[in-house]
Symmetry: C2
Subunit: 244 residues, 2 copies
Amino acid sequence: MSGRPAVVLLSGGLDSTTVLGIALAEGFAAYALTFDYGQRHRLELERAAEIAAVLGAAEHRVVRVDLGRFGGSALTDEIEVPKHRTDFSGIPPTYVPARNTVFLSLALAWAEVLDARDLFLGVNALDYSGYPDCRPEFVAAFERLANVATRAGVEGERPFRIHAPLMRLGKADIVRKAAELGIDLANTLSCYDPSPRGEPCGACDACLLRAKGFAEAGVPDPALAPARLDRERRGAGPGESRGT
Amino acid sequence: MSGRPAVVLLSGGLDSTTVLGIALAEGFAAYALTFDYGQRHRLELERAAEIAAVLGAAEHRVVRVDLGRFGGSALTDEIEVPKHRTDFSGIPPTYVPARNTVFLSLALAWAEVLDARDLFLGVNALDYSGYPDCRPEFVAAFERLANVATRAGVEGERPFRIHAPLMRLGKADIVRKAAELGIDLANTLSCYDPSPRGEPCGACDACLLRAKGFAEAGVPDPALAPARLDRERRGAGPGESRGT
């Protein structure tokens, strides 16, 4: 872990885990950042810690930011997570207002302290259709902002760069990319509404898109491997999950 | 309070209090937002609540965001607050990395939930010289970002507007503006390093600039009025402080 530092947003899902693997494969010392933002299920936080350790992040931090305080989303509020949707057009109720703006802002704060100029996030072509803050325009606008909002912007030698390496990829492409780089996806959790033990519901948008992606790529989903699910049912802690 | 909603960043200092007064004078229903971001002195939070009540904000929220977790600033860290400075060029150690970016992002999240399109913040020409995220370029870049980062940006009828009404004003101009609008500044606290009772140190950059501003405007600083200081020495709570 001796490369240039980069801050990587890590939710513990398939996309951000793949992005962490890409940042490491590109030789960055990856500082993984996970948010405790009032999401309804907090398993994400444990999974992110496991993933950061297994993949070899230089450091992993969980930062609390109270987005749930504002409400307005099925992920932080009492709004119901939609199931078995087939039409993915429009902005879904799982959209959290300004979430990626808030997350990138905090990543920028950490990057400035670390003297890092590279930020990685896992937005991709599929999200693009529904979430305003997953579009290329958003990433470009944030990059411009970063370069006027900070010491680096004023002093100006090395500009910030926001990396969104999955932007043009669909879920199957992401699964293939992870397989190609040998990224361990066993601990990833994409489901918006898992059981208390972390079993995916299989019916929310995230589960449906993930299943379709693995199927199209012709790769079995390691998070659904019998050993992984059995461990969840036994309630094994993160300590036991390393190296699976 | 029946105007269009606007989110106003309120730290409890002279500048943001004046901005709250301006937003109200312009007819907005002001939703005041204060951050508990790990700052070393927390009196700001009490003062902001008093100010929001006295001036007549529609609502006041304090949101916790753990910027202190990243370090790198005299305001959140063990770095010493500089005293009796005379040269204000360069970025001072009280700069908090990416602070205004983080604060505006969270204001944007609340604005989206409130269906507000107006955000107010108290950056001004003096801060401009030292803090990268107090410059007009920063405000313009954030406004562009807001309009691609949100539902409003995608659906696009009414764009976001970031108001920085103090941008071109010096401290004396701000004091004059507040006096002209009859804004009560008695509860404002600008000091970076106050006593536990809220008495300003009189020597940090914020105290020096504030004193100079009041002196140049020829207005006495109401926060230094004997009655106000006496109340602090008695340790009166916010309840008693209304309407002074």
